[in-house]
Amino acid sequence: MKEQQSFAPEFEHFYDYARQGELRFPKCESCGRFHWYPMKRCPHCRSEKIGWGQVRRNGTLFSWTVVRHAFDPAFADRLPYMVGLVEFDDAPGVRFVTNLTGADAEAVHIGMELEPVFAASNDPHPLVTFRPARAVDRA
């Protein structure tokens, strides 16, 4: 059984949106800049007024790896799997750690366009994975 844990409130907001199929990141209402991971105040201007800006467009692969060793035994049965780091035109300053699915490692390349896949489950902290963009960019 998966261990249920709760995170800091500013972390939980990310998952509140993810459960609704929305990808949102902390965005300062004072200076307008994104930051990631969530902080108590905007790290750019120290404002406490932090909203959550929605990513609506596809992401771009910044870097990636194929994990072939289980650093934690809990992941042994998933090997090998791909971890990607994804950037967004509409959330500058954010890089999102995710799993890449639906592509062979040979076809993966930095700069490729990716779209999110929201896990449909009752998990309070659903994974948001990415796959090669198939649909027209949602913007």
Partner: protein, 383 residues
């Protein structure tokens, strides 16, 4: 320039995956070895230092002081892991100069060779990593540095053979040095045949996993002259940190492949030492992975960004080459005690104790510690 303090004793437990003793026992062994090396007694020690992140929960100051019978009138800690190892003399120098202490013992080590989870549990202290990275299986240090390596290959055209050269050369250094954890040579064929851990990093790109503790003893330059061995002067120390959290540093750095705190720590160490990198005869660089060693060669300032592979090919990093790097084999081939072995080795090089692995006429050595986003550079000189 007159130097205020010197390292007068070093000690380490033997490099090994499994020491057969717990880390507190190893700390006592290393501390006593360092004091013996200096010709000093525990009763001579009146200040004690370590890092501020790892040792307080495994071998606290007061425990070691009680075990050794040290009356301590000064204790301090700085950063965590390798940066603390390199930056501690910055604090010790102030303490000794101000008369707060006369003889300062520094110790550091880990039991990550045998502790369940090894090094991999360390990053579980970061809450955002637990919330947003570990669920995706992004939790081992090799995967963090794999993202850097892949991106570096994309931006600067790094070839896998360039990483291989670091691993192979350091192994050559280790074979000449002896005493390290890696016992067999490593050829390019061996490198390319070694198991892929997290593409593009193979197991030969990753540091060893070790049990062990090292220690060094510092005192005033005046008192150093009365110790058993030739003193090694602390020429200058640089410490710098970027305003980015430990959660963010592997993924969110705006310029991922640049380590500005490395550059700043290097600049400060050179300035305080009154020397430049041209004066450095060898460097013990924090080589947790081949890629991190390569990037630091650039950010320390030995060459420009994107130029390290060519620098290594042209200048060479073997013991007899233009810039000997990790003369004991480094963390890749000697041991991974987060850099304490680098300070111990640099001191031994500057005393001329390294036998087949001795850098000829070594008079100035640089040691780096990388505890992202904090960084330390220690410049040492033959006394």
């Amino acid at each position: 320039m007159r130097k205020n303090i010197a390292i007068v004793g070093v000690g380490e437990t033997a490099p090994t995956r499994s020491a057969g003793k717990d880390v507190r026992a190893l700390a006592v062994d290393a501390a006593l070895a360092a004091l013996e090396d200096a010709g000093l007694d525990p009763s001579d020690v009146d200040g004690i230092m370590s890092d501020g992140g790892i040792m307080p929960s495994s071998v606290p100051h007061e425990w070691l002081a009680a075990q050794l019978g040290v009356n301590s009138y000064f204790d301090a800690s700085i950063s965590y892991g390798g940066t603390g190892v390199c930056a501690a003399p910055m604090i010790a120098e102030m303490a000794i100069r101000e008369g707060l202490a006369n003889v300062v013992l520094f110790y550091f080590g880990v039991d990550w060779g045998t502790r369940p989870g090894g090094p991999y549990g360390f990053h579980d202290i970061y809450p955002a990593k637990m919330a947003f990275e570990k669920p995706y299986g992004f939790n081992g240090q090799p995967s963090y540095f794999a993202l850097w390596a892949r991106r570096y290959m994309h931006e600067y055209g790094l070839d896998e053979r360039d990483l291989a050269t670091i691993a192979v050369t350091q192994r050559d250094n280790a074979m000449r040095h002896g005493g390290g954890q890696a016992k067999r040579p490593l050829s390019y064929d061996d490198y390319f045949a070694s198991r892929m851990i997290s593409d593009p990093l193979r197991i030969s790109d990753c540091c060893l996993i070790s049990d062990g503790v090292g220690a060094y003893v510092m005192t005033s330059a005046d008192r150093a002259r009365d110790c058993r061995k030739r003193p090694v002067e602390v020429l200058g120390v640089g410490y710098a940190a970027e305003p980015i959290t430990g959660d963010d540093v592997f993924t969110q750095k705006p310029a991922m492949l640049h380590l500005p705190s490395v550059a700043e720590a290097s600049r400060r160490a050179q300035q305080r030492a009154g020397v430049t990198l041209d004066d450095v005869d060898f460097a013990e660089i924090y080589d947790c992975f081949t890629i991190s060693c390569l990037m630091q060669i650039e950010d320390i300032g030995f060459c420009g960004k994107g130029e390290a592979a060519a620098f290594i090919r042209e200048k060479g990093i073997g013991i007899d080459d233009g810039l000997p790097v990790n003369t004991h084999g480094g963390m890749l081939s000697y041991s991974y005690r987060l850099g304490i072995e680098h300070v111990v080795e640099a001191v031994r090089q500057l005393r001329g104790e390294c036998g087949d692995a001795q850098v000829k006429d070594a008079s100035i050595g640089l040691v780096s510690g990388l505890s992202v986003p904090e960084y330390g550079v220690l410049m040492l000189g033959r006394g």
